[in-house]
């Protein structure tokens, strides 16, 4: 499936992602890592749970409200059904052991020049590339 190359929208979206991360650091002194945010759901008694849930609610609400106001975001999920569930399960285990994902390591960690985040980001970018290449071209495709 072909998707449109959208350098301006992607750059603008990326700047907004960064702005969200900067606001969370300036006001709350926290890293905007989605893996850590999800802990807010799993540990409701943790004192950090309320602000983590608020961040998650905001992240879901913004595109929802924008859509209701008439915005359209391209969406297509090439992977569906059991394979999507398997992918989700692997992501869940991976981000827990790896202590972060694209937002925590790839944006916030790299922005702080964390060597751990650099190693994590290079590792998951490499295995994502290998997985996509293998699935799309590796089986005689």
């Amino acid at each position: 499936m072909i998707t449109d190359f959208t350098p301006l929208a992607s750059l603008f979206g990326g700047i907004l992602i960064g702005l969200g991360a900067v606001i969370l650091m300036a006001f709350n002194g926290r890293i905007a890592g989605m893996t850590a945010m999800l802990g807010g759901v799993l540990e409701p008694r943790n004192p950090d749970s309320p602000w983590r849930l608020a961040f998650l609610a905001g992240a879901i609400a913004a595109p929802l409200v924008a859509t209701l106001l008439g915005a359209e975001f391209a969406f297509s999920s090439p992977t569906t059904g059991p394979l999507l569930a398997v992918g989700g399960l692997i992501v869940g285990v991976g981000v827990t052991y790896g202590s972060g994902c694209t937002s925590g390591h790839g944006v916030c960690g790299l922005a702080r020049l964390s060597p751990r985040s650099l190693v994590a980001t290079l590792t998951f970018m490499a295995t994502t590339f290998a997985t996509v290449t293998l699935m799309r071209h590796g089986f005689g495709g």
Partner: protein, 144 residues
């Protein structure tokens, strides 16, 4: 403004950015990792914009303040060791990302405008997190 409101505001901007950037669109994300096929380099612009903004913003904040506006200190990760757990976990995350096209930061905002099949991914991911946390807690239980 309290900490919950500021986190809500940060989440709103973050989520809008994810949706506009295309990070919440699995087809687009997977095409970034497919230079041999229908390559879509957009994701490089997302990462570039996000990283540059965050790096500059963090530098300004840490240069001017000793604490955030609404807390007594910055809560920064203290782990320094690069071990098998970090590398193995990150490698696994990449395999799952490559299969699904969703990462956690992309899937949460996607729930707001494409609930299905995003919910299936998120429920499975939640199960994976719970499973991994349970396994991580096992050795401590045995020695306690």
């Amino acid at each position: 403004m309290n900490r919950t409101l500021s986190a809500l505001l940060a989440g709103l901007i973050f989520g809008l950015g994810i949706a506009i950037s295309g990070m919440a669109n699995p087809a687009k994300v997977l095409n970034f990792f497919d230079p041999l096929g229908n390559w879509d380099p957009s994701l490089a612009f997302v990462m570039g914009g996000a990283l540059l903004t965050t790096a500059i913003g963090y530098r300004v904040i840490f240069g001017r303040r000793t604490a955030p506006v609404l807390d007594t200190k910055f809560h920064l990760p203290t782990a320094r060791t690069i071990d098998a757990r970090l590398i193995g976990g990150s490698a696994l995350f990449g395999i799952g990302w490559g299969i699904a096209g969703f990462c956690p930061g992309g899937a949460i905002p996607a729930l707001g405008f494409a609930p299905w099949p995003t919910a299936l991914f998120l429920i499975s991911m939640g199960a994976g997190i719970v499973l991994a946390r349970w396994v991580q807690a096992l050795p401590r239980r045995q020695t306690a």
